[in-house]
Symmetry: C2
Subunit: 368 residues, 2 copies
């Protein structure tokens, strides 16, 4: 595989430019009131991000519809970024996360602002932060649907394509995303420590529910807008959908590796966060499986310990490498990319297909 | 005005039957997983409720489109009930409410269930309840949009009508609803006690943002589906929209009166809840305006006091009557109904128009 990602990065950057431009022209901006809602709705969107989901949507669209239709799909690309964003805002409340993309999460930022402007009662301020974050996600959810609709109203995409796509997003995709999120929360409570009672397949399925499904939707939406017909059974559409679905799972597996090995700047959160949060990953599962009693005790005493020292984090990180947790995850990610690539065989060659191939390679080689 | 509501109640009951039937046939039911999500998404929908918003949507539709088009609008009626429902689920988290329609709120019910099935840690159980409630609202939000879309996909309503309506719902309506909710939360924190710095107009505007706007949308959506054209400027469409908007504000004013004078069964929550929560209403505002120093002290020492005694609640309730708070609110509700009715002048007579007139009367005479 080609490891020169220059053309991919340049496409990601064009996508970012296009969707930020679309956001900046939205009639929604004028009804984002009061200021705390306005600022919160825009905050994650304005932070540096890779914009992978909208880019994949545009690439899939280009594969079947060419250059001109990619222009038509820009509101949908903005829509999938917004959809992803509201799930992040609500997940951050659920996970009690304090940082996202190197800056405070919405609930955290608004809680801090409330302390300065609204109340000296820190419990009230915390509730206020949570309230604003819930409502921020709700508005972004609405804006996401509006953006998809704009493909029909402003870009002359067939209204039936948009209606069917939004319906699919609002039933199948949201249902599975929420299912994955709840399983994750329940695992976190029930198996706070040793991951007993879960197997590797279940962990990977949870990754797919939480991440793969939205990449799958990116491929599907781009493909249908590309052919401008609501033909969900079209073989090329299905091929692009399967391809992006598998790559999405690989993305999350690689994300879990970077969550252990990445540095603070790359992660946007402190080193060791995933370990201190006790995040349930294939890395942890595989390492525990291969650990002796002493190693197991070291891992279990650090995992999920919010106050674990930097030395303890280092030790567990080393164990994850030695015990094969990192390697097994890397291997799985590669398996998913290998499963994904043959689906592209029936897609005609184009610069967009080459971008998708490059993106697949980036999924398992990326360091950020 | 006619005060025999038999035909109105029979229409509300038909609406309830139609939308529950629509829900029961939804393909979404099979993807509501796990059980906690399935049960939470359905819980408020299955509790006894008046179904005013979907009924108003169907009446407005019937006014301009007649009997046959009312059938076509049933998925949209289900959609507005779902939209209202997700806002209730999220509002209940924000207001820390424990009861809704006579039974535990979603976050409360799921927190209690978690204590039995997931964890003995009551903080973790409470967080779990909150998490499930956030995600429940998110799913209902999606299902709401899906239902509107079904009007086009299953009922041959013009796709452009549905796209424009959903766009309006997801920008204008959601933006104003959230604005009203945040103002309410901010008022609650900043003016915990004496309502200084707020005037009557601001309170009524907040009622409109939180309640009137969704009734306005019910009128608009029904009217546009009735004419089956996305003609937002049509004078009859605008008339129905204005009519339902004003009646919606009257509905909320009457709701505030019932919140003080209603009994537990009618309220679905304990007597005095609105006083103990310190709810900011025209009743409180007007009463404080007319109170002498002693009366003011009595009101302020009870309002917002979660542990206020039954005697204190009785005393404040009496003061709200004596000081004109109840009467002023009743008067305002009547003013809004009087503003609403002339808009119906340009709507041709029909059983649906008669139902809307009856509904307007019910808004200010209802006891539940």
């Amino acid at each position: 595989m080609n490891n020169d990602y220059t053309t991919l990065f340049s496409f990601l950057s064009e996508t970012e430019h296009s969707i930020l431009d679309y956001f900046s022209k939205s009639d929604l901006l004028s009804i984002l009131k009061p200021d705390d809602i306005h600022d919160s709705v825009l905050s994650y969107l304005q932070r540096p991000a890779k914009r992978l989901r909208p880019s994949v949507l545009l690439m899939a669209c280009g594969c079947l519809g060419g250059e001109e239709r990619v222009e038509f799909a820009i509101p949908a690309a903005a829509g999938i970024e917004l959809f992803h964003t509201w799930t992040l805002v609500h997940d951050d409340i659920i996970d009690n996360d304090k940082l996202r993309r190197g800056a405070p999460t919405v609930h955290e930022a608004m809680s801090e602002r409330a302390k300065l402007t609204l109340t000296s009662d820190s419990n009230l301020a915390q509730e206020y932060g949570r309230d604003i974050a819930i409502l921020t996600g709700d508005i972004q959810h609405g804006w996401s649907i509006t953006s998809f609709i704009d493909c029909a109203l402003q870009m002359s995409v067939d209204p039936m394509v948009i209606l069917q796509l939004v319906r699919h997003l609002q039933t199948h995709v949201i249902g599975n995303l929420v299912y994955g999120e709840v399983l994750d929360v329940q695992f976190g409570i029930q198996n706070a420590v040793d991951m007993s009672g879960i197997n590797e397949e279940q962990i990977v399925n949870m990754l797919w529910l939480k991440t793969g499904i939205l990449y799958e939707f990116a491929g599907l939406a781009g493909a249908l807008i590309g052919i401008n017909a609501a033909n969900f059974d079209d073989s090329q559409v299905c091929a692009l959908k399967q391809f992006t679905s598998h790559c999405g799972t690989a993305f999350q597996l690689q994300d879990d590796i970077l969550g252990i090995l990445g540095n603070e700047e790359e992660l946007g959160k402190p080193i060791g966060s995933d370990i201190r949060e006790g995040k349930k990953t294939v890395i942890v599962f595989e390492s525990l499986k291969n650990a002796d009693v002493d190693e197991r005790n070291i891992i279990l005493s650090t995992l999920g310990n919010k106050h674990a020292s930097a030395d303890a984090i280092d030790e567990v990180t080393s164990l994850f490498k030695q015990l094969g947790g990192i390697n097994r995850t890397k291997e799985l990610a590669e398996i998913y990319i290998r499963k994904a690539l043959p689906h592209l065989d029936e897609i005609p060659d184009s610069k967009y297909k080459q971008l998708l191939i490059l993106w697949a390679s980036f999924m398992i080689n990326r360091k950020f």
